[in-house]
């Protein structure tokens, strides 16, 4: 038994004790040669000593000086002890003793051995050891950790496992082989701020991945035993037993089971394959009952339906959509729509509007899946489709949003009359029944607030203009269809920096019209206590304000110069000012209320008071 300086072995009776001279140090644990009953030790790296129980003085026993530094001697029952040199070479003891001065080759270079083990395998002694690479960056702690189990006989690096933890040095590793694909490593990770973290990790050698690891913050002795699917190790003061189970290693477990959004990209490949099977099984079946015929039919569909009529396509699509349960449905939809759009581009008369609407309504599409769709719709001025796209695509580029806006603003209200634009977003503030448009509706004014009242309160004397202003504020400057389309624009996501340059493309008339509409919305919004219109698709007051500011930013000089914008700006300014004043009044009231409450609660009565109390 070799004892360390800082460990005491008490309550144990030593059977024998040998020591080296004072200036010598034992550099390798002494082992017992089971065959001969001799002890073998190495001091000062190179000096080999062999002695027996009856020897008293270590200085007088057999001594052999070797030519290279010894790392460790392994004694395995029923075989000659193996001597492992620091350079990685291995000799049996008898071979070494036969010629102590023989040349010892270096197997490993710029690597140091961290751990070694010897055992018998099919009556052959096998010695394995792990090394750590000492790169030039080690001192600056940039080196990566490596574990290299090597087989003595082949002496080829069979595997290289890399620790993912950067900036750390693996020290004092101990290794256990669990099954053919797994090894357990107990080691100390020395990370820069002097925190030595010991941890137990299980590696998959087949896929060279870290399977799992467990930190052992209270430190270990550096030893790891495993027996019967259990690890035994000392953790702090206790012996910790960890149960493990090695599953059959597969790629799926090695890369992790979590589905990543990125993987959907990989899926598209397989979805192409599925498209064919889909054709065979579902789409084509109404056309032909024979599967052979179906196959030819499907091939034709896959080739983007070059010559099928719009009607046929609609029919097929109906069939396809009625069976929307399938996997890869989303990708298939994307595939179909790309095909359709491509054909639209090449064939100007081809425009399967109904199909496209249906496909968009499957709600799984995005702009990036079919980038040309909106361009085609813009080309055809299909406002309904554009509205749908704006409402459903999360990633419409600002340029396209602006193009849509421009298109919407330039279409006359009359031409929009017949279109089937979804009016859900406007019914809460525009009366869409055409006959009532002239009649001014009596509005319920909540919270005692009305814009008209604000006007009377204001000190500006603009009596002549007043009726006109009220008129423009009360009536929607655009028809309900156009309002719904503009709402879709207001609702779309954008980034200011990218939107601003495109906004500048709007003509002065368009800007004025849009501003008037925004002002109308703003005033309508402010009438409500909640300051928001009901419904999912209606614009919020923040969206309205943001767009108003953006529009004014983009066209400030134009708006200031335009005579027809003057009235609009003026009333807008006045309204906003009134709102600000109103809010500041509310703030004042809030302050007073808080003060009142504070006075009511934090009354300090002191130690004594005389009060009046009435009980009725």
């Amino acid at each position: 038994m070799l004892t360390e300086q800082n460990r005491k072995v008490s309550d144990q009776k030593p059977l024998g004790c040998w020591s080296v001279k004072q200036d010598q140090t034992i550099t390798c644990p002494a082992v017992c040669n089971f065959e001969t009953g001799e002890y073998i030790a190495v001091h000062d790296d190179k000096v080999l000593r062999i002695w027996k129980d009856e020897d008293v003085n270590l200085d007088k026993v057999f001594r052999a000086t070797l030519t290279a530094d010894v790392y460790r001697i392994h004694s395995v029952p029923h075989t000659e002890p193996l001597v492992l040199f620091k350079g990685g070479a291995v000799r049996t003891l008898d071979a070494l003793l036969a010629a102590p001065q023989q040349e010892i080759e270096n197997v490993i270079s710029d690597e140091v051995i961290r751990w070694s083990e010897a055992f018998m395998e099919t009556q052959q002694p096998v010695l394995i050891f792990t090394t750590e690479k000492v790169s030039g960056f080690l001192k600056t702690c940039y080196s990566k950790n490596k574990l290299v189990p090597e087989e003595e006989q082949i002496l080829s690096k069979s595997l290289l496992l890399k620790m993912v933890v950067s900036d750390t040095v693996l020290k004092g590793a101990s290794l256990a082989i669990l099954d053919k694909d797994h090894v357990a490593v107990l080691g100390c990770l020395d990370s820069p701020p002097n925190i030595a973290k010991e941890c137990l990790s299980i590696w998959n050698t087949k896929f060279q991945t870290l399977q799992t690891s467990k930190e052992l913050p209270q430190g270990t002795s550096g030893q790891l035993w495993c027996y019967g699917e259990k690890f035994f190790l000392t953790h702090g003061k206790v012996l910790t037993v960890i149960v493990y189970k090695c599953e059959t290693s597969s790629l799926a477990t090695a890369v992790g089971k979590l589905k990543d959004t990125q993987t959907s990209g990989m899926r598209t490949v397989s979805s192409y394959v599925n498209w064919n099977t889909l054709q065979e099984e579902d789409l084509a079946s109404p056309h032909a009952q024979q599967s052979v015929a179906a196959k030819t039919e499907s091939k034709r569909t896959v080739s983007f339906r070059d010559d099928s009529s719009q009607h046929d396509i609609e029919e097929e699509l109906r069939q396809f959509l009625s069976n929307a349960q399938m996997s890869d449905f989303q990708a298939t939809v994307g595939y179909i729509i790309t095909g359709l759009v491509n054909r639209c581009k090449t064939e100007p008369t081809f425009y399967p509007r109904h199909c496209l609407v249906q496909l968009i309504q499957t709600q799984g599409l995005s702009y990036s899946l079919c980038p040309d769709l909106m361009a085609v719709a813009l080309d055809k001025t299909d406002v309904h489709l554009l509205q749908l796209c704006l409402q459903q695509f999360p990633d419409v580029p600002e340029a396209v949003t602006c193009a849509c806006l421009k298109s919407f603003l330039s279409i006359s209200d009359d031409s929009l009359q017949g279109t089937n634009v979804n009016l859900d977003s406007v019914i809460s503030f525009i009366d869409i029944t055409p006959n009532d448009q002239v009649e001014k509706q009596t509005e319920t004014v909540q919270n005692g607030f009305s814009s008209a009242l604000m006007e009377e309160d204001s000190c500006d004397i603009q009596l002549t203009q007043k009726p006109h202003v009220v008129d423009t504020e009360e009536l929607c400057p655009v028809g309900p269809q156009k309002a719904a389309l503009l709402n879709a624009i207001l609702h779309s996501a954008y980034s200011e920096t990218f939107l601003l340059p495109h906004l500048k493309d709007l003509s002065a008339q368009q800007v004025i019209l849009f501003l008037r509409y925004l002002q109308f919305l703003y005033i309508k919004c402010s009438e409500k206590v909640s300051t928001d219109f009901p419904g999912m698709l209606s614009p919020t007051i923040n969206q309205i304000m943001d767009w108003m500011c953006l529009l004014l930013d983009a066209h400030f000089t134009v708006v200031v110069m335009l005579p027809e914008a003057k009235g609009l700006l003026f009333s807008l300014h006045k309204f906003v000012r009134a709102q600000v004043r109103f809010c500041s009044e509310l703030n004042k009231i809030e302050g007073s209320l808080q003060e009142l409450q504070r006075i009511k609660h934090q009354k300090d009565f002191g130690l004594y008071s005389i009060e009046m109390l009435e009980l009725v």
Binding site: V238, F605, L607, I610, E614
Partner: protein
């Protein structure tokens, strides 16, 4: 109807003492509690948690451990090195015996209740035999090094687990040898050098030992093998105490951070036979060290240095979300510490070792409900009377005219004559006050200040004539016919000087005729503790309140319950009234409104107007705010007998002065908290 000038007094600097240890007796449903000043209290859980007994503290007595043994006998031991038995009938220490082992840190009775094991400073565990009226030293277990901080008997009575410093030991009781020695790890985090005090141990019937220590761990040990089974860190400072339920399926642990944790033995899987101790519920009801915990069948009980006793019912043991399932906190005693000289406008405050006499202020203005009137004369601290000796004051009183002050310690009655004249106060001790053979439990002066009534042991009331200009006559004694063993703890005298009512520990109320100086009658027995008594100045009806919140009115001349009282019993009291959680501690009357009874508990005071209808459960009990908004006429239709005011709380005392103004004595919890020492530093977010 009732407009009062209210003297709102907050200058009674009452400080409850911290709770040092508790002992729960499942058999009698009682909890004994010792405070850091040596005072002992007994709470009766069956009587709505009423604090039915109290033994005043003592300067040199510091009780470290309490235990019930041999039935309902209560033993205490402390750092004085003495083991005492308490006499719960006479409310005093029955006898004390030196343990001869230095300060005693722990004590536990064996499962049969016939032996006491005492853990001493010198490292010895001593066994005492409990004999019918004494205890006797039997033998010591093998003495070991290190003071014995905690001990626990194995339910079989053959082993004792002992917690010491850095160590746990198991003793075999028969041989007296230590058969197991377990080292307790000093470190959880931080310094290794701090020693680990095993503050508390519990020995379970399966041989598991549970320990809690100064490092903040709760650990489970195998006593056979001496190995650690589980460690649960509960606190970064110390886990001070633990208690196990009778079924051994739940453990309560108190920590020095004021938190209380429950551990439960739960099956590992549903339906599995294998179970594991799991930390289930944390409770944070205390701000300071939780020095004592107990585990009743249905509740966790904890007491801390913040002087609060908290009873936290376990919801899983409760049927429905009823009144019993409510959390209870006790901060104030269930007895009166203030007495009032109604005629002179003086207040007498009782502290453990002194009395304070204050004169109330005055105002010259009038106002309406809610107004704070300008104080034209500030209240004045007239006098401080310090009691001599180590014994604490157990009761005190001032006569209605304010000229006599009496107080008593466990061994001596003191009487003083006070003269208050234009700001100058003189006090003269009355010489030759007859020595009482036993302690006084309550004092009361007659309305005309000519006699002093002293409540005493065995149901007796002594009467002392007060003679001008500062003397007293001989002692006369009134005794009940029944011969009760319990001490009298409540007294009430009639204004005309004819009657005296006395309630004792057996909850019997005796009425004596002072004119004939003999027992007059006994109020029919009621099954719950009496919390307050008073005799009406006009009708001589005795009003009695009980801890179950019932109110009775008993006509002394007619020796029967009054019609109104019968009506109340027939109708039943309002649910809101019955579910209050503090008892009525004082009753008084308004001579100008004979139908009124004024009562108060800690959280409200109430004018009970007998002329108004009783409310039923459908009408709100607290209706003052609603009534005030109604017109005079409409009020009549909605008013009911209970006029409750919750404006002033926590209330220690309410009384009506002779000129018609009310005096309320409040002690805000905040004021108590600021007086407490800083708690263990706790990291709070952002600080």
């Amino acid at each position: 109807m009732g407009e009062f000038q209210v003297h709102r007094v907050r200058f009674f600097a009452y400080m409850p003492a911290g709770i040092r240890c508790v002992a729960h007796s499942a058999r009698s449903a009682r909890l004994a509690l010792a405070r850091t000043d040596g005072a002992l209290e007994v709470y009766n859980f069956a009587a709505n948690y009423f604090q039915e007994k109290g033994i005043p503290g003592h300067e040199t007595r510091s009780t470290e451990a309490l235990c019930w043994a041999a039935g309902d006998r209560l033993f205490g031991a402390g750092l004085g090195g003495d083991i005492s038995e308490y006499d719960l009938e006479k409310l005093r220490v029955k006898y004390s015996l030196d343990g001869f082992g230095g300060p005693i840190w722990s004590m536990a009775a064996d499962p049969s209740g016939t032996q006491l094991a005492v853990g001493c400073e010198d490292g010895s565990v001593k066994l005492f035999q409990v004999l019918p009226d004494k205890i006797q030293f039997e033998r010591s277990l093998d003495r070991q090094k290190g003071r014995v901080m905690s001990l626990s008997w194995h339910p079989s009575g053959t082993r004792i687990a002992v917690g010491s410093i850095d160590l746990l030991r198991v003793f075999d009781v028969k041989s007296g040898h230590a058969i197991q020695r377990i080292l307790v790890d000093r470190r959880l985090q931080g310094l290794y050098s701090c020693e680990c005090v095993v503050w508390s141990v519990a020995f379970l019937s399966d041989g598991t030992i549970v320990s809690s220590d100064s490092v903040g761990k709760v650990q489970f040990w195998d006593s056979e093998k001496g190995t650690l089974l589980e460690t649960h860190p509960v606190s970064s400072s110390a886990a001070l105490c633990l208690a196990v339920s009778e079924e051994e399926d739940s453990i309560v642990v108190g920590t020095s951070e004021g938190a209380v944790y429950q551990f439960q033995l739960l099956p590992v899987k549903w339906g599995s036979a294998e179970s594991k101790w799991v930390r289930t519920k944390p409770f944070q009801h205390h701000t300071h060290d939780v020095r004592a915990v107990a585990h009743s069948a249905t509740a966790l009980i904890s007491g801390g240095l913040d002087a609060q006793l908290v009873i936290r019912p376990l919801m899983e043991k409760m049927h429905g979300k009823g009144y019993d399932a409510a959390l209870r906190k006790f901060t104030f005693p269930h007895r009166r510490l203030v007495s009032c000289a109604k005629k002179a406008g003086l207040l007498l405050f009782q502290f453990p070792q002194h009395l304070e006499l204050w004169r109330l202020g005055a105002t010259s203005s009038a106002g309406k409900d809610g107004d704070i009137l300008p104080v034209s004369r500030a209240p004045e601290h007239l006098l401080q009377l310090k009691s001599k000796g180590p014994e604490h004051i157990c009761c005190s009183c001032i006569s209605l005219c304010g000229s006599w002050i009496a107080y008593s310690t466990a061994s001596r009655l003191h009487l003083h004559r006070v003269h208050v004249e234009n700001g100058s106060v003189s006090v003269k001790r009355v010489p030759k006050v007859p020595k009482l053979l036993c302690s006084a439990h309550q004092l009361l002066c007659s309305a005309d200040s000519t006699s002093l009534f002293v409540a005493s042991d065995q149901g007796a009331v002594h009467v002392l004539k007060l003679l001008e200009p500062g003397g007293c006559g001989p002692l006369q004694t009134l005794r009940p016919n029944s011969g009760s063993p319990e001490a009298v703890y409540l007294l009430a005298a009639s204004a005309d000087g004819d009657w005296l009512a006395a309630a004792g520990g057996d909850w019997e109320v005796n009425v004596y005729s002072l004119r004939h100086f003999k027992p007059h009658c006994t109020v029919p027995a009621y099954h719950c503790a009496v919390t307050a008594l008073a005799i009406h100045p006009v009708t001589n009806n005795l009003v009695i309140t009980h801890s179950d919140q019932q109110v009775f009115e008993f006509s002394i001349p007619d020796r029967e319950y009054t019609t109104w009282s019968r009506k109340v019993q027939q109708h039943g009291l309002h649910r809101g009234w019955l579910e209050r959680d503090t008892p009525i501690t004082h009753i008084t009357f308004n001579p100008n409104q004979p139908a009124h009874i004024l009562l108060h508990d800690t959280h409200m005071f109430c004018i009970l107007d007998k002329s108004l209808p009783l409310p039923d459960d459908a009408t709100p009990l607290m209706n003052q705010t609603a009534l005030k908004q109604l017109s005079e006429k409409a009020r009549r239709g909605h008013a009911h007998a209970f006029k409750i005011c919750k404006k002033y709380q926590p209330l220690l005392f309410v009384d009506l002065l002779e000129e018609g103004s009310l005096v309320v004595v409040e002690r805000p919890l905040m004021d108590i908290k600021t007086q407490l020492p800083p708690p263990v530093q706790q990291k709070k977010f952002g600080t």
